[in-house]
């Protein structure tokens, strides 16, 4: 062995490198088969960011197809009005592209709304039920329909098919439950923090 190496150093090195290459190649090949990723993981990540309203305002039949289009065909990231600027920002961060303003063509960012069926006027045609992408409308033929508020994504898709126009989109009202503290405005002097050890400005002047 050592004789062979000393006699043919070039050949030995070549052999060693080739065998190493083959070994690692086999290992990598095995790993590629064994740990294959199913589908495109970036699609999942984009889909995670999209608001899942399934409203189709982007021009795709649902959030997932739009995510696939973004991942596979370089579709613009500014076609999702329910996601809004925050959604665009998140997508831009994920895909490492420039954040662009929302495409007005596809609608504008609106406050979250929930569909409401004026039940007295509902004729029970089931058209809205067929239109609802998340099965959030309950009812049967010739029976009154109603919206399961907690499941409604506010996609608007049920409004158009209604033959008697009995569906309203009601935007979410500010309530005790939805109220939240806001970031303080650095310019405003309105401060809600009560105690500080800062002295009275008048005292300080004295």
């Amino acid at each position: 062995m050592s004789d062979f190496i000393t006699q043919y150093p070039l050949l030995a090195a070549l052999l060693a490198l080739v065998s190493l290459g083959l070994g690692f190649g086999a290992l990598l090949g095995f790993a590629a088969v064994r740990f294959r990723t199913e589908g495109n993981p970036i699609v999942e990540q984009i889909n995670e960011i999209l608001p899942q309203t399934q409203c189709g305002q982007c021009g795709y039949p649902g959030c997932r197809p739009y995510a696939e289009a973004i991942a596979n065909t370089d579709e613009a990231i500014n076609k999702c009005p329910p996601g809004g600027e925050a959604g665009i920002q998140a997508l831009a961060d994920l895909l490492d592209v420039e954040a662009i303003p929302l495409d007005e063509e596809h609608g504008e960012e609106k406050a979250k709304a929930v569909a409401y069926i004026r039940e007295a006027e509902c004729i029970g045609c089931t058209k809205c039920i067929q239109a609802c992408p998340v099965d959030a409308i309950l009812g049967a033929a010739k029976q009154m329909h109603t919206v399961i508020t907690s499941e409604c994504t506010g996609c608007d898709l049920c409004v158009e098919p209604c033959p008697v126009d009995c569906i309203d989109m009601i935007s979410e009202q500010a309530s005790l439950r939805s109220w939240q503290w806001t970031l303080p405005d650095p310019v405003s002097r309105e401060v809600t923090i009560i105690a500080t050890d800062a002295t009275n400005p008048e005292e300080r002047a004295a």
Binding site: P51, Q52, D135, A136, T153, T196, A198
Partner: protein, 673 residues
Amino acid sequence: MRKIFDFHGGIYPPENKEQSLRSGIRDAGIPPQLIIPLSQHIGAASTPVVAVGERVLKGQLIARAEGFVSVPQHAPTSGTVAAIEDRLIAHPSGFTSPSIVIDSDGLDEWVAHEGVADYTAVDRADLLQRIRDAGIAGMGGAGFPSAVKLSVGPERHVKTLILNGTECEPYITADAILLRERADRIVEGTRILQHLIQPDETVIGVEDNKPEGIAALREAVQGTDIEVAVFPTKYPSGGEKQLIEILTGQQVPSGGLPIDVGIVCQNLGTAVAIRDAVLDGKPLISRVTTVTGEAVDDPQNFDVLLGTPMRYLIDLAGFRPGKKQRLIMGGPMMGVTVPDPDVPVVKVTNCILVPTAQELPTPPPAQACIRCGMCAEACPASLLPQQLYWFAQGKEHEKLEQHNLFDCIECGACSFVCPSNIPLVQYYRASKAEIVKMRADHDRAEASRARFEARQERLAREEAEKEAKRAARKKAAEEKARLAAQSDGAEDPVQAAIERAKAKKAAQQAGAEGVNEGDALEKAVASARKRLDTAQLKLEEAQQSGSDLVDALASGVEKTRAKLEKAEQALAAYQGEQPQAEAAKTPAVDPAKVAIEKAMAARAAQAALSPEEKARQDLEKLEQRLAKTRAKLEDSRAAGEEAKIIEALDATVARLEEKIAGAREAAGVAEET
């Protein structure tokens, strides 16, 4: 003597407690009107069970709890329900909440109530139910339903029960005065709690700035196994997690609850309320509230009915309105500014602070952070407030969570020490709310995605099912057709009839579609030949096996051969007359149309006939048919066909004879008339 531990950070703000401790607890009396908000604690709002105009008695249930984390409300005094409407509540949002408004009648008439003499004889679940029914919520600040907190599963062993008598926030003295004046009732309440959760040890933790209270408490706990632990005053040692660390040296894990380390914490006021509920059967309808600040002449503690408007209470303490007057519920560190003095006192109102503008001045505007690190030194939760501040400004929510924003107890120590006067806590509160909202949105998005995907799947499944059904139907039809084609036409008359009809239809269709008639004939020849082959094969088999069917099969073969010949002849004839036929054929003649026209003409002709003529015609037709059928029957008999066919033909003959008899009669009648 218990070993006292220390927690990280903390501050020493001016206490300002002595002002309100000069006198004892004073009864605030009955205000003319009481407002009971239905939503005044963590958890679901309660539902009213009284109607407007109804007279209620003191202690009567007026709103029942909705769900597990919810508490009922009771009438604080007797009177009439004036309204159930939206009223302002003490909340930083300045929002309204549905409330029950009661006009008091001054009689203070109690509803029938009864306590338990010996609570040790009562089942634990019953005691908990009593506490729940009494509407007791934590009276320290957050207002978490006490019964929920005390519902410790039997698998959870409680090592230490801690009674929180710390009251570390400046100005507030509600617990201090309770210790001084009602130490015996605190101890009774603690005994009930002990019985309820069976802890290994019980400690009442008190800061050393309440010497009179400590003395009273020490006296009251004589002869019990309750320990009184005294420790140095520092803000915020009254925070639940900080107090646990002081008394046990243990830290509650991040995101965990005290019960995770075997500890249950209760407020002194809550203990007294539990005592009243269990021993006296009284629901939580009043509490001790401190009214203090330089804007009142007579700062003191009141025993106040819940629902009393704050204005009534501060007037009682001698309120002097000033400019830029603020009204604060809670203390100066964690309290909230109340939008209007007409808001009512609720279960968590431990203090009403009315400072003058000099006493608690509006802080100067915030300056830039100079990264001095004082906030990190003061933080009792060992967080990094300045980092959190940067991330909050940049809305870097992930980083905020990595820096344990949710361990912040919002005590305000960081804002207090900040030399730049940055309202740090406000940033944390806003960021927390934002993150909670985003989490909720994300959960919702997940749920709607799941629903969307489930729907897609369902639609696909329904489509597949429909497709499968269609395919099955098609296959069945094909199978039938194949069977029909395979079976010998002579063997089953019904099948044969169907086949004939089908062939006719096919021919018609073929005609309609302009398909060459010759093709059909050729096909007929081919199928006849095939049938002959199979029949011959069967015959050979039968001959070999010596079956007694040989004769029948032989005749079948003969017949099939005849048929084949006939078909071949027909084909030849067709082929021979083809050029003529094609010449005669008018282009685009619809055979169906022709048939319909024929039928219509026939019907018209029939309609033109007189009844006797019609009857005669019918008779003639029937006779023709009878003759034909008889001939067929003879043929079949001669050919030695199967009994089935002969029978069927016989039946047909009989039917036709009957019909002819009927027709003759009809014709006869027609002739007679």
